[in-house]
Symmetry: C2
């Protein structure tokens, strides 16, 4: 087993909040060793769509990506958000390199098949080019991934950032001791959605099933936790969910997931 | 002297024309050896600005980049145009990687000082990280640069793509036999702006001065040719200006520049 690798996925609400993003990037830049950042797009794409006369469409919390929407998310995720994060990390002394799944053919994906719902240009991830990513990490680079992939036939695809983070963690877990961190606006998975301090410190496979059955885990958290357990089943050492407490090694101000 | 490196800068009008861009990327992807693509933004940024209520402002053919304009060019150059070119090159079997000057800290720049004109967030290029770019090229990657740099303090900067191409060519000329190619809508530098077939086949330092004095070279071509001669003076082997004829080795359907 090789060096440590920390993968952080940061969510939309953090990206929106300039002060919080600044603090997060500072803490991230101070992490030692190999690391990867994966970011969602935040509300900027949703704000831009109506300005350009495009109506945002969501089904089951996932965006329906027609070609006009794809143009906007490519601009916002791949351009505005990604390049600004890269420039800010550079200022903090981190040699960041912004990437989509198309860049260096790092993530392999295909357009989601049409079943009951046509999600449009949405990407389902297949895997990664682990060798190339190892090469980039070994050059001292910090890849910063936006939520875009490609089908290797020239088509860009809007892709869930949580899934990208989990796929990267799985694909790199044979080369590195990989930790996967989901950083969002709450301090962890909450027992009571109305009580922000009710963080569940530890979840394992059996308590997860119980929490789902009891309806404790909200609909929005289900795909995130599904990704976490998929990652753990496939070689990722540790998955954590929380806010800036994720960067504090001495406390457990986040939810830790194990098999 | 090392391997050959071909640097191609492609202009706005080619990016606008889907069929021409497709043909160009096909020819570019078939070039053997190391290569780098640098692209401008085309008219898409200018089209998007008024839609978002931002008035485009140009002085001496250069855009005045206020913060709202910078957001738009970051979206269009760094996101929409860059990621689509990368995905298309990947489909053609080229392992492209999209970059701004901030990515991998590849290009060092600073905000243009305010003199008579305040160009806003416009970048003046200082140099490149040649070692990192050599590493990326030696991994088999084809960097695709958009016209954005950073000041290493977290600020993105709108930067002339011709200058980026020349700076890359100069910085890499001690590691590679570097050819710099400016690909745009005309077949080369024209003797008569109204006669598209009046391509001047060869220009050297002395004929350049003569052509400028005689007013043969139009105002729009002057900064481009200035960049070319700067590149030649600083180690670049050959600079060529033309259209798709640049990819035809057997003909001279372009303008060739030597010292």
């Amino acid at each position: 087993m090789g060096d440590k690798l920390n993968i952080f996925k940061i969510g939309g609400n953090i990206i929106e909040n300039e002060e919080e993003l600044k603090q997060l990037l500072y803490l991230f830049s101070n992490l030692e060793g190999h690391k990867i950042l994966v970011h969602g797009g935040g509300k900027k794409a949703s704000e831009l769509l109506p300005k350009l006369g495009i109506k945002p469409r969501m089904v089951n919390g996932r965006r329906i990506t027609d070609s006009a929407t794809l143009e906007v998310v490519t601009m916002v995720y791949g351009g505005l958000v990604n390049k600004n994060i890269v420039a800010k990390l550079q200022a903090l002394g981190n040699n960041a390199i912004g990437m989509s799944g198309a860049d260096a053919n790092s993530i392999h994906a295909h357009k989601r098949p049409i079943t009951k719902i046509d999600y449009g240009f949405a990407g389902d991830v297949e895997g990664i080019d682990a060798k190339m990513l190892c090469n980039l990490l070994n050059l001292g680079l910090t890849p910063v991934f936006c939520a875009l992939t490609h089908d290797q036939k020239g088509q860009l695809l809007n892709t869930n950032a949580d899934t990208i983070a989990a796929t990267l963690a799985i694909g790199l877990s044979s080369s590195f001791q990989t930790n996967l961190n989901y950083c969002f606006e709450l301090n962890g998975v909450l027992k009571d959605i109305n009580d922000k301090s009710s963080v569940i410190k530890n979840i394992d496979s059996s308590s997860y099933t119980k929490l789902v059955d009891e309806g404790v885990i909200s609909a929005g958290m289900l795909p995130k936790l599904h990704n976490c357990f998929e990652a753990l089943k496939n070689g990722v050492r540790e998955v954590r969910i929380g806010n800036l407490g994720l960067f504090e090694n001495s406390t457990t101000n986040y939810t830790s997931l194990v098999l």
